[in-house]
Amino acid sequence: MTKINDFVVKFANVNGSGSASANLMFAKSIFRMGIPVTPKNIFPSNIQGLPTWFEVRISKDGYAARRDGIDCFITLNPQTYQSDMKEILPGGYLIYDNTMERKFSRKNINYIGIPMAKICSDNYDDPRQRQLFKNIVCLGALAVLLKIDIKIIENLIKEDFEKKPKLIPPNIQALHLGRDYALNNLDTDLDISVKKIRTSKKKILIQGNEAAGLGCVYGGATVAGWYPITPSTSLVEAFQKYVNIFRVNDKNEINAGIVQAEDELSAVGMAIGANWNGARAFTATSGPGVSLMSEFLGLAYFAEIPLVLFNIQRGGPSTGMPTRTQQSDILSCAYASHGDTKHILLFPSDPKECFEMAAQSFDLAEILQTPIIVMSDLDIGMNDWVVDPLKWDDKTKYNRGKVLNKKNLDDLVNWGRYLDVDGDGIPYRTLPGTHESKGSYFTRGTSHDAFAGYTEDGRINAENMMRITKKFKKSLKYLPRSIKKKAKEETGIGIIYFGSTACAIDEANDILESQGYNIDLLRIRSFPFGRGISSFIDDHEHIIVMEQNRDAQMRSLLINELNKNSSNIHSILNFDGSPVTADYIVKEYLNLLKGNEAMLKSSKTKKTAA
């Protein structure tokens, strides 16, 4: 069966061998033919020499989740030949470098040998070039085999090396060497191929961290304190990049202050100090960093200082799987720090939402005077996603929240930093340097009264804590709401999910729907949970929470915060570090039904009025 625009290609490489840019060019060339692609970079926590993979799903229907079963595997890493081969679907292709003879055991797949090393050693003298151009030679051959428009790849090479134009001709030469080899020596009639899709819908291919770093520029962030940690580093690097592009004034000065800190404690301390002093500031980290930042998060919560924190989640616990993805910091972020603390969480599901939520989070932090934690993950943050172009409304005005200026202070008689003047639990704050005699106060992590004075009166402290709770509840009106999708027919089953698994859920739902199952969907976009989520749970006989951690953390948070009966709330969990596939969700869903008669009934028949 010929598959056009619907197959999976995977590359096995050695990290540090220069394969990454060629692989991305492969994905981008297909994207430029108008075909939705989902590249996933599967890499080790290592600089050079270990196995790395690059998986590209090509899906005319726009399914962006991973899919198991490889149609075409380009295995360029001898260390992994044998295991890579097992992933290939029957009838699929294995492409390899046959400069040296290789033996393969599987019978039901096709082998395509290309002497990449030989072609390179025949044409290049420099050993480094011989190594790097193997990837481009391979790309040239793939273009022929899969019917990729080679002009698009040529353009990508020109764009990539715009600043090093000397490198353009040898790269294009290597591309043509690969192409010519394939044309002259290979049977190019494969069962898989791409075909241009003409579409008026413009899309972009972008990583979540790139989009979030850009969102910080748009959200008006001026200060970033940060400490390098995979997979969050590229977010701050993107911020720096766009600051250099967009934030240089006519005197060549920078409209931002970015400081690499000595550790995560210092990184978040800087962001808090800057926010306290009226700048919009953020830090970005991953799970281990959040653990270190917890004490400071409690201070920002209790002293009510705005803060934006990006948690690009990776595999835990401890150092865990630094280069794999999980959603396993839900509870540690929702309740970060000692004592009674709760934090506002945002859950972007793709790079576009990373951009939007990053920009929005600075308003939220200042309106609510509390930390906002943006819960992205490695899959969104470090992989390229096809999304709609980013948009910005030029009428947008930053909402700086309740900050008193000099005139406000002149007019005020009895200002108290933590007085609940408006009944929404949100007090008014002042910034250092505003007024010569009014509005100064002492910011502290010790128990304090409405006037920021130290108090050991437990009643006053309890009142203050209750006001912060009120503020937390009132935050709902500012937060992004959950998104629901109703099944075609009324059903007793609902799936709740969030973040990077959204694409896999959508696809799984399509599969299940085609098999006659009706499921309502709800995607959580923020915490605390609104009434919509609570009623969604109430309105379904069975709820399934899909998440990428072992302990069903979101499920626990829902049960705990919404006070729900746990017996009808089930889980589908995936925590092997790979982004979940739709097939896995379908399989687990059907397994759940198998063990539960009542559930099976609710899923296939219309919900009966109780």
Partner: protein, 351 residues
Amino acid sequence: MSYIKKPSAKHPRLPKNQLGLTRRDYEGALSTLCAGCGHDSVSSAIIEACFNLSIPAHKLAKLSGIGCSSKTPTYFLNKSHGFNSVHGRMPSVATGANLANRDLFYLGVSGDGDTASIGLGQFCHIIRRRLNMLYVVDNNGTYGLTKGQFSATNDKDSKSKKGEDNLFESIDLAALAIQLGAGFVARSFSGDKEQLVPLMTAALKYKGFSFIDVISPCVTFNNHIQSTKSYQYFREHNEALGFLDVIPDKEEIKIQYDEGTSTEVEIHDGSRMVLHKLDKNHDPYDKSNSLSMLNNHQADGTVVTGLIYLDKNEMDLHDTINSNQTPLNALSEKDLCPGSKGLDFVNKNFS
């Protein structure tokens, strides 16, 4: 932290500074530290220095960590914003605050526990960054709030009140500060107002990282006969390097000094520091000389005080990162947001 409100009555003939303010205008709540605590004298010196410089109190931010010393910002400058952060982390908060608004004075008050133990990392790195601030350590060699444990600045073999030996080497914060790039490094004694006030005055004017290690005996837990951080020990072992005057711009020099033993440095704002040297061998502009001088004195058990090191090249973090002269917290959407036009550029790059 605890505090007691002060009555606001003022004597009508109190001397006034250029802003027409009296010293009372620079005071804070009444201290609840132990009677005789050296830290209260440091607070008085801060009040005096800010009064002398006519600093508008709201243009100064006072930051601290946790501990007895970190409580003191409540006891001075109650018209200033204060930030009592978490233990040992004041430097990072100060860094962020300074990044947000380069136009304020930043005064950090910390202790030897807060700085030399839990906060040693942050202390080192704020120095490397040359943040424009005055960082004062009220150094008493002990953990007061938790009742008398040794701190990392306590001298080896100095005894606790209960007679236990301190078994570990001490950290010399002034030497560390010089090594890591602080521009202004001094040591003084809480009881020596004559020396401390001019040092603070000069340090507040200095652009870059200024550090003053103030030996400030703990009257309750570390002021006994066998302690090297007691009033008695200090008075018997102090060796002053000299004293300092700060002369505001354009004011005639009225102070008499021996030409051969004095040097003058212009501060970036145009005023001058005049250093009267007692120890003729000490050259405060020579980094390695300053460090070896500290080592030599530590070996013979004397505590040198005065201006130890001064880098005439004044510069701070903002110079290094080339940030806008306008405080970052004063920039508007227009300066910060590239708008839809910017996105056209970005979208094109990713299509």
